[in-house]
Amino acid sequence: MRRYFARKLLTYFLTFFVAVTLDWGIPRLMPGDPIAGLLSKFQLQPSSYAVLHSSYTRAFNLGEPLWRQYLDFWRALLHGSLGTSIYAYPDPVTTVIRHAVVFTLALLLPATVLSYLAGNKVGAIAARRKLLDDTVLPFSYVLTATPYQWLALLLAFVLASVAHVFPISGGFSYSLVPTLSWAFLWSLLTHWFLPFVTLFLVGFGGWAIGMRNLIIYELDADYAHFLESLGAPRRLVRKYAYKNARLPQLTGLALSLGTIVGGAVVTEIVFNYPGIGWLVLQAINSEDFFLLQGIFLFIIVGVLLANFVVDVVYVLVDPRTRIGLQEGTR
């Protein structure tokens, strides 16, 4: 088990290192002069342009040799600084992200966990049950092939714009001051609901299909046939099949974390939900590159942590990893 975790942690540290390097390198590798782009918005005399250009170059440390810039980037990062946001000037990027991340987590955590649990349950029940399978399976295929942003648009249109059941945009009603009152909490909840349902439904489809297929596969395994021939009740056989089918599904969860985060980004944009995804759009619109770089690192760290959680759960669920029979796999 120690080797299992050592290997995982090594991968994660390496990933973090690569991510920070990409985060630093990509803006510098991009064609064009970022400062020229910044200054092109102002109409300047050539003489003042030269002065501003050199002063900005100094301010952003772009005159230094590359290796210096790289080390400085790490040093600032390790001190918890990601620069100053242009969009929310003069707030530091970390503050801006911290305000948004609460909303994203409130959306992502329940949507991911609940869709995973519900999808697995329904998929397991549907397997080898003709009538249920014929209804759940096509439905799940439709859901899993749906682009997040489109389901979000559809729900926003039908339930918010036409039926007025739910609010169409924002994280809470702008007529309310954030306080710990029932009215405010209710407002939070109604604004949260549709983005949550979007993320839940798309995720649900994939998990249901995966579990259904795995159960069918497991029920055909030797141990299942053996149990049946011993006269074990169907319930018991299915229970063992479910226990085994959980493992590949957990691996699948770790693999799809990136897709889920991507789905949250576009869903938040549709509902103007003030999380990280919505912040991405604001940063793009105001060309706030520091904020974009900060969000990238934040997402990476979040995904790494989530991966680690899945690893821990995997060890809890699969006894083989605990005694080291299955090291390095997964």
Partner: protein, 302 residues
């Protein structure tokens, strides 16, 4: 429902008589009998056809202003017009084309990288495997869309070739890992050992002995990469990074959202592109499962 059950029963009864004699016919037989495969392929095929004939069936250049704005679907504007008075139908068929192109190119590039990495890692083993495996696992964790926001933030209005390359460069890790695992299990077989002993060159063993034994698996992997590429590029365009103008399915949704189609109830602007993407991707998934059942006799019995 009851009709379905009888047909599936026929499926399982018939092949036992004629199945063993002609394996190729058997595959075709099962392919035509497989409901999922037929349904999936027909959806993808129809949409593909619409994409191919797009230049002839579209009534106008997708960006041209052809009529009054915000017209609901009618006989003169099949799917209505946009906020600006562009023909939604023309945009849709044109967008389908772009989606298929990105899917084939992006999925293709990802497939080539995945097979190269997967085969090399699985066949070579040792230090090469360790390095490639680590690289795969690292890239696997970095979310594509997150990478996109730092790349896309700097590039405005990219081409679909760039989009396909980006998707190809980022979507391969899971496939490489799956192919590596399959290769590992094949490499330990006797026929590969025999080929090695008789001095056949490595790449010839991979191409001639290993790959054909997992050809169906490779094909299924490509189908999934194809579908994923379309979904990723739809998000990409929805964020506004796509080619300028309303020429792709993702940017149609982006423009509809940006110009308040929700509040103005112009549903015919954003519903068709989503249905089209769902059709292609869902069709591909169902095709994938159907093919799996055709290739793998174990799954047929259902």
């Amino acid at each position: 429902m009851s009709k379905d059950t009888t047909t599936t029963k026929d499926d399982t009864a018939a092949p036992t008589e004629e199945g063993n004699t002609a394996p190729r016919h058997e595959l075709v037989y099962f392919a035509l009998r497989n409901r999922k495969l037929v349904i999936g392929l027909s959806i993808v095929g129809l949409l593909g056809l619409a994409a191919i004939v797009a230049p002839f069936s579209a009534r106008s250049n997708p960006d041209a202003f052809v009529g009054p704005p915000m017209q609901p679907p009618s006989s003169s504007y099949l799917l209505g017009t946009t906020y600006f008075g562009q023909d939604v139908y023309s945009q849709l068929v044109n967008g389908l084309r772009q989606s298929f192109l990105v899917g084939i190119m992006g999925g293709g590039i990802a497939f080539v990288v995945a097979t190269a990495v997967g085969f090399t890692a699985g066949y070579r083993g040792g230090a090469v495997d360790e390095v490639l495996n680590m690289l795969t696992n690292v890239l696997l964790v970095i979310p594509t869309l997150a990478l996109l926001i730092i790349v896309g933030g700097y590039l405005k209005g990219t081409s679909i070739v760039f989009e396909a390359m980006f998707v190809g460069a980022t979507a391969w890790p899971w496939a490489a890992r799956a192919i590596r695992a399959q290769t590992l299990s094949l490499v330990s077989r006797d026929f590969v050992g025999l080929a090695r002993l008789s001095g056949v060159r490595s790449w010839r063993i991979v191409v001639g002995e290993v790959a054909p034994n997992m050809s169906s698996y490779l094909f299924l992997t490509f189908i999934l990469l194809f579908g994923n590429a379309i979904l990723i590029s739809a998000s990409y365009d929805f964020l506004g990074f796509g080619p300028p103008g309303g020429v792709s399915l993702g940017s149609m949704m982006n423009l509809a959202f940006a110009w308040n189609a929700l509040q103005l109830h112009i549903w015919w602007w954003f519903v068709p592109p989503g249905v089209a993407i769902m059709g292609i991707v869902g069709g591909l998934y169902v095709t994938n499962v159907g093919l799996d059942e055709v290739f793998n006799p174990k799954l047929r019995s259902l």
